[in-house]
């Protein structure tokens, strides 16, 4: 019965890091209405890329089938021990959505699907290795497309993207300080080098935190300048990268002063034996609450709260606070783990 509790993340066929990642991603998808055939995923089946997808039932029946697969998958991964089966359903629903609708082709949704599918193919031997390699394949694929395109070397692609398409005033001003086309050319080549650097860093587990830092440099300026999160892509990236950090099985409350009030509340919502009992003599203040929240960041309830906050910021278009929150989370949680990542238990057999 405890598997009905979505906050119980251990005791599954995959490691807790992946359970947390796909559950948070599923909640985010529900909150932001990022379903297959919804929003920029079009209205339903529309001249499938693969012919046989056009042969199943009427459009209404097909679309309903994909939605049922998606929602059924989310229910399974949230409220049962069948996390892999649920992830398989959600992943297949997104892939089917992309392949059955020519105008819905979206790398953002495809990557989201791959996070779920890699979880479905993972186990305790692979750990989070498949997600790490999936990220490497994503950047390698994107980089190969750029390397083979002359426009990325000449700067024509960046010039069109930033000046003609998005008309970014700040970029246009900055480009004016250089010879014509120089900044776009350097940006294009810079992105190629940056993406290849991320691939190299992702190939070694001990350097994933540095890959995260480069990923922030690559993605967050795009979010701020273009004012878009590319559908579920940004959050899928955050959960994928986040899963590569070791989720602490026990939270040490003796590391410093903490709020007894908050720790007591978190203990009452601890279904994984993560929070130990301890007392602090520190006075309850907002600063102490913030310190406690940061200290207990890996607690599933706090991660869920961060997910709801991120969804709200996206829904109301507050992308600058979202960017700052992402940087802050990286700074206080991921960056200190850069040495610990080297010592983190590797998936068996890797």
């Amino acid at each position: 019965m405890r598997h009905l509790n979505p906050l119980y993340v251990t005791g599954k066929a995959v490691v807790p890091e992946l359970v947390i990642a796909v559950r948070l991603l599923a909640v985010y998808l529900l909150l932001t209405s990022e379903f297959p055939f919804n929003g920029n995923q079009g209205g339903g089946r529309f001249y499938p890329v693969i012919g046989f997808l056009g042969e199943f039932g009427s459009d209404a029946q097909f679309n309903m089938g994909v939605r049922v697969l998606f929602l059924g998958g989310i229910a399974a991964l949230l409220f049962s021990r069948l996390v892999r089966l649920g992830a398989l359903g959600v992943g297949l629903a997104f892939v089917t959505g992309v392949l059955s609708c020519q105008i819905c082709i979206s790398v953002a949704h495809l990557f989201t699907a791959c996070v779920f599918l890699c979880t479905a193919l993972s186990n305790h031997i692979t750990g989070t290795g498949l997600i790490r390699f999936q990220l490497a394949v994503l950047y390698l694929g994107a980089d190969l497309n750029k390397i083979s395109d002359t426009d990325w070397w000449t700067g024509a692609s960046m010039e069109t993207l930033l000046v003609t398409k998005h008309q970014l005033t700040a970029y246009i001003h900055a480009a004016g300080a250089f010879p014509n086309g120089f900044l776009s050319q350097m940006m294009g080549i810079g992105v190629i080098v940056l993406q290849m650097g991320i691939v190299m860093l992702l190939l070694r587990r001990r350097t994933v935190v540095y890959a995260m830092a480069l990923a922030l440099v690559l993605h967050l300026p795009m979010v701020v300048l273009m004012q878009m999160t590319f559908g579920p892509f940004l959050f899928a990236l955050v959960t994928a990268y986040g899963s590569l950090l070791t989720w602490p099985r026990h939270l040490d409350c003796n590391a410093g002063p903490h709020s007894n009030l908050l720790v007591k509340w978190l203990s009452s919502l601890d279904f994984n034996g993560q929070v130990g009992t301890c007392r602090s003599d520190a006075k309850e203040t907002p600063a102490l609450w913030l310190r406690t929240l940061i200290g207990y960041l890996p607690h599933p309830v706090i991660l869920l709260g961060m997910t709801v906050l991120a969804a709200a910021l996206v829904r109301y278009g507050k992308l600058m606070p979202l960017t700052l929150l992402t940087i802050a989370a990286f700074w206080v949680y991921a960056w200190p783990q850069r040495r610990r990542a080297a010592q983190a238990p590797r998936p068996a057999g890797l």
Partner: protein, 118 residues
């Protein structure tokens, strides 16, 4: 021991390898579908359809092809060609001709012409 570990890794590694092979394959095509090519190409296009010498209205074009008459395509110019060909191969009531004029990454304008074979 080694064999059982290999079996656990195999499905995932095959899945990731298939993505890499597909990415390399799609590099040889003018379309991008499940290749990892987000915003790699910026194509500004306009679709015009003609019947008996008269151009179709914007709404008719957008209803038939499911995309804006004039817009950015962020994957590949070939995706527009494939869309027009798919629609005209299946949907009844096709126009006599469809012209897609487009500029890829600000380069000189190019056109793609579809003509009804009747």
């Amino acid at each position: 021991m080694m064999y059982s570990h290999f079996k656990k890794w195999l499905p995932g590694l095959l899945f990731l390898s298939a993505q890499l092979v597909n990415t390399l394959y799609e590099l040889t095509l003018d379309t991008r579908t499940i290749s990892w090519a987000p915003h790699t190409t910026q194509v500004f296009y306009r679709i015009d359809a003609f019947q008996n010498g008269l151009g179709w209205g914007r709404r008719a074009i957008e209803a038939r092809y499911g995309v804006a008459q004039t817009q950015w395509e962020a994957h590949a110019a070939g995706n527009l060609r494939r869309l027009i060909e798919s629609v005209e191969a299946v949907a009844p009531g096709n126009p006599d001709s469809v012209i897609v004029t487009y500029r890829r990454n600000g380069a000189a304008e190019r056109t793609y012409l579809w003509k009804a074979s009747r």
